[in-house]
Symmetry: C2
Subunit: 433 residues, 2 copies
C-alpha cells in the first residue's frame, strides 16, 4: 500500500521516504534541522546549508510548522539526534501547507484550555498526551470485548431510536421520526433483557446512550458510551463477578499493551487492580460514611449517597468496591428485590474511589411483578408491552449491569474532566464539532 517508511522504522543505511508533520525547525546557522512527526514518533532531517541544493534548503527551512511534508533521503546514524538516526534529504515536498497561525500548539509548549482543545481536536490529538488517552480508550474497548467473549457473551446491537425510554420521558431527547414522536435511547436495558430470554442467553453491547440530563459537571455527558452486560441464570453475585472480570481485564489490557501511552501520560507504576473488589452492603456503607465525620448530617436508611460521602469513603477504600443490598425504594423498578426482604434490592453499584462506574442487579423476571413495577413508577405498562409480553413466554432469572465507558477511562487515567475521554463530547453547551 503506502510507499512511506514510518519514522520509527527508519533504519540507518537505507534510503527512506517519511511523511508527516513539520514538528519543529531548528536553525543553527550553517546547519539546520527539520523534525518530522508521524504517528509512530519523530525523526530529524538535517540540512547542511553549504553542501546542499539551495532550493532544497529553502523548502525545508520555510515550511510552516504543522504542515504536511514528505522527505526522501538517506538514513544515517547520529548519536546526537533524539532517536539516534537522522535523514539527509534528497527531496522535501510540502504536501499540505499549514497556516502560520495555529489555534492550538500541538507541541504542547503553549497550554490550551479544554474548550479550545475540544474545538480543535485534530490539532489537540497531535500531542502525545492526548493521543495516548485515545489509544488507551481503544485498548479498553478491545479488552472489555475480549473479556465478554471469555464469559461466553454474544455481542449485540440494539436500536438507538426508540418509541419509549427505559425510565420515563424526562431525560430523553425527542426525535421526529417520519412524523411520529420518538426518542434517542438512554439505555439498552430493555433490549438486552429481551435477549437473555432468547437463545443467546448472555450478551454484551458497547454503544452510545443519550441522556437529556441538565447536569453540567466534569463527570456527566449527554452522549456517552455504555458498556452493557446481561445474562440469563445469573444472580446479582454472578453479575458482580462478571463485572469485576471485565473491569480488571480493561486495566490488564492497558497495562500490557499501552506502555508507551502510559509513559506519555507520565505513569510510572500503572497497575491493574489485584484481589477481589470488596462488597459492602448499603447499610455498612452509610455507617462507614457517617463514621468518616465528613458529612454535616448523618445518613439514614433510604438516603441517596451524597458525592462528598462517596469521596470520603472512597479515600478510605483506596480502590474499587461494590455497594450492594440497596433499599428497594431508591433502585429502579426493574431491579429484583431479595426474596426474603422486599425492602432490600439486589441492585449494586461498582465504585471507583472517585465516582460510581457501574450500576446493576438481578432483574425482575416475573411478569406480574414487572407490570406492577411499571404502574408504581407511574409508567403505562401498555407502552412497554413489546417488552413485558416476552416475560410471559419463559423469561429466565437474569442479572446484568451497565458500565460508563468514559468514566472507566477517566478514572483509570485520573483525568480531571470526563470530556478528556471523548473525542467530540456533547453537553448542554457543546453540540459542535
Amino acid at each position: 500500500m503506502e510507499d512511506r517508511t514510518y519514522t520509527a522504522d527508519a533504519e540507518p543505511g537505507e534510503t527512506a521516504t517519511v511523511a508527516g508533520w513539520a514538528h519543529e525547525i531548528r536553525d543553527l546557522g550553517g546547519i539546520a534541522f527539520l523534525i518530522v512527526r508521524d504517528t509512530t514518533g519523530k525523526i530529524q532531517v538535517k540540512f547542511e546549508k553549504d553542501e546542499m541544493d539551495d532550493d532544497l534548503v529553502e523548502t525545508g527551512m520555510n515550511v510552516n510548522r504543522e504542515s504536511v511534508v514528505k522527505v526522501t533521503g538517506d538514513v544515517e546514524e547520529e548519536e546526537r539526534a533524539p532517536t539516534g538516526v537522522e535523514i539527509v534529504p534528497e527531496s522535501v515536498e510540502v504536501i499540505a501547507d499549514a497556516d502560520p497561525e495555529l489555534p492550538l500548539d500541538p507541541s504542547g509548549k503553549v497550554d490550551a484550555d479544554l474548550s479550545t482543545r475540544l474545538d480543535n481536536r485534530t490539532l489537540d490529538l497531535r500531542k502525545d498526551e492526548t493521543k495516548a488517552i485515545f489509544e488507551i480508550r481503544a485498548e479498553v474497548l478491545r479488552s472489555v470485548r475480549e473479556a465478554f467473549r471469555d464469559l461466553g457473551c454474544t455481542e449485540i446491537n440494539t436500536p438507538k431510536i426508540v418509541a419509549t425510554g427505559t425510565e420515563g420521558g424526562t431525560e430523553l431527547f425527542p426525535i421526529t421520526y417520519f412524523g411520529q414522536e420518538a426518542f434517542m435511547n438512554q439505555s439498552p436495558q430493555l433490549f438486552k433483557q429481551l435477549m437473555v430470554g432468547s437463545g443467546l442467553e448472555r450478551v454484551f453491547e458497547v454503544g452510545p446512550i443519550f441522556r437529556a440530563e441538565e447536569h453540567n459537571t466534569p463527570r456527566h455527558l449527554n452522549e456517552a458510551t455504555s458498556i452493557d452486560f446481561e445474562s440469563a441464570f445469573y444472580d446479582h453475585e454472578d453479575a458482580m463477578d462478571a463485572c469485576e472480570h471485565v473491569v480488571k481485564s480493561a486495566y490488564e489490557g492497558v497495562a500490557e499493551n499501552c506502555q508507551a501511552e502510559l509513559e506519555a501520560l507520565g505513569y510510572e507504576d500503572f497497575e491493574a487492580p489485584e484481589g477481589d473488589f470488596p462488597r459492602l452492603s448499603y447499610e455498612e456503607t452509610i455507617e462507614r460514611i457517617n463514621a468518616t465525620g465528613e458529612l454535616d448530617e448523618q445518613l439514614v436508611w433510604g438516603d441517596d449517597l451524597p458525592t462528598e460521602g462517596e469521596k470520603a469513603l472512597g479515600e478510605e477504600m483506596g480502590g474499587h468496591y461494590f455497594i450492594t443490598d440497596w433499599p428497594s425504594e431508591i433502585k429502579p423498578f426493574y431491579i429484583k428485590d431479595h426474596d426474603d426482604d422486599e425492602q432490600l434490592s439486589t441492585g449494586f453499584d461498582l465504585m471507583h474511589p472517585n465516582m460510581e462506574l457501574v450500576s446493576g442487579g438481578q432483574r425482575e423476571h416475573r411478569y406480574d411483578h414487572l407490570v406492577e413495577g411499571f404502574e408504581q413508577q407511574g409508567l403505562d405498562p401498555e407502552s412497554f408491552e413489546y417488552y413485558t409480553k416476552m416475560f410471559k413466554y419463559g423469561m429466565p432469572p437474569h442479572a446484568g449491569w451497565g458500565l460508563g465507558g468514559e468514566r472507566l477511562v477517566m478514572t483509570m487515567l485520573g483525568l480531571e474532566n470526563i470530556r478528556e475521554a471523548v473525542l467530540f463530547p456533547r453537553d448542554r453547551q457543546r453540540l459542535s464539532p
Copy 2:
C-alpha cells in the same frame, strides 16, 4: 458463578443440574421425554412413570412448552437420545411458566412471517437459524475489528448527535437538543476525516448511523451499523486494498469460528472469497452492463447504475468486485477527483453480486477545493467551519470508506431481507420493539 451444567457439557456418570427451556414433551405412555434446550443445545430428560415419584412425573409432563425449567439428575448414556445422553431426573423445577399460547413457535415447525418474528425477537431467537445469524453477526464484528487492528488502526467513537449532517439536511432525523435544532448523524464521514489529520492517522469506527430515507426496500434500514475506515497518506487504491482485507477477514472469521452456525443455516460449503477482487472502471462497468442486454435503454456516461444493471453484471462477475473511476458529478463533493482529469473521481464502490456494500474514495484534502465543493453542493461552508478549518492546519492526503454492516451479513448469508440481520430494525413503519 452459576451452578448449572450446560446441556452440551453433561457427561454420563455425573449428576448434573441443567437449566433452560422446555423445548418439547414426548409422552409415549409408560415412558415420556422432556427435551430441555439451552444456548449450547438440547438434552433429553427421561420419565419412567411407574418407577418415579408421581409429583415429579406430573411436574415434568405438565410443563408448558417454552417455560424455563431446572432439572437435576443423573446423566446416563443413551444411544437413542438425540445427543447420546439423557438425564434421569431427581427434581424438576418450573422457574418461569410460559403461556400455552405462543405468538411464535420457537421449534420452527410453524412458519412465521418476518413481521411476527420481529415483534417477538425473544422467541424468534430461540430458533437455531435465527440465533445463528446473530452469532455470525457478532463474529463478523469481531473479525473486522481485528482486521482493522492488523492495519494499524485506532478505534474511535464519534458523536451521533450533530449540528449539521454530512450531505445536507434532507435525509436527517431532527432532534430537539436543549432547545436547539440538532440531528442524528447519518455518517461519521466528517469526524473520521478530522482524525486522520490528528496524530492517530488511521482510524476505524463501528457504530450506528441514521438515515431518514423514505426507501422501504428489503435492503434499506433507517438505523444501520456502519463500519468506517479512514487513513492518512492513503490513496483510493490503498483504501481498496484495506477494504478487501477487512471484508475477506469477516468471511474468514466466520468460516473458521462459526461452523455450527453455518450448519444451522444449511451451509455446507461456505468459503471466504479468494484472489483479488477485480477492479472495473465505471466506463468498463457501463459497457459490460450494456452488453448484458438486460436494460431497455443503454447506459451512457454519467448515469447512475440501475439495480437491474448491477444484478445482471453481478451475475456475470460471480463475486465481489470494485467499480472505480466514477464520473465526478455523481460522487459526493468530498471525494477527490483524479489530478489529471477533474471529470473523473477517485470514488469507488465495492459490489457484492447482489448489491453495493461499500462506498469510498480518496478525499479532497485541499482547503480551497473543499470549501468550493460545499458551495457547489449548495451547502453553507460556514456551518461546516468546525470541519473545514482543520484543513488549514496540515491535512494530509487521505482516503477511506464506509461498509454497511447489515449488508455485509445479509450478502454473506444470502438473507432475503436486511431486517433479518438486525435484532430490532427501524424502518418507516417499525419503531418498536
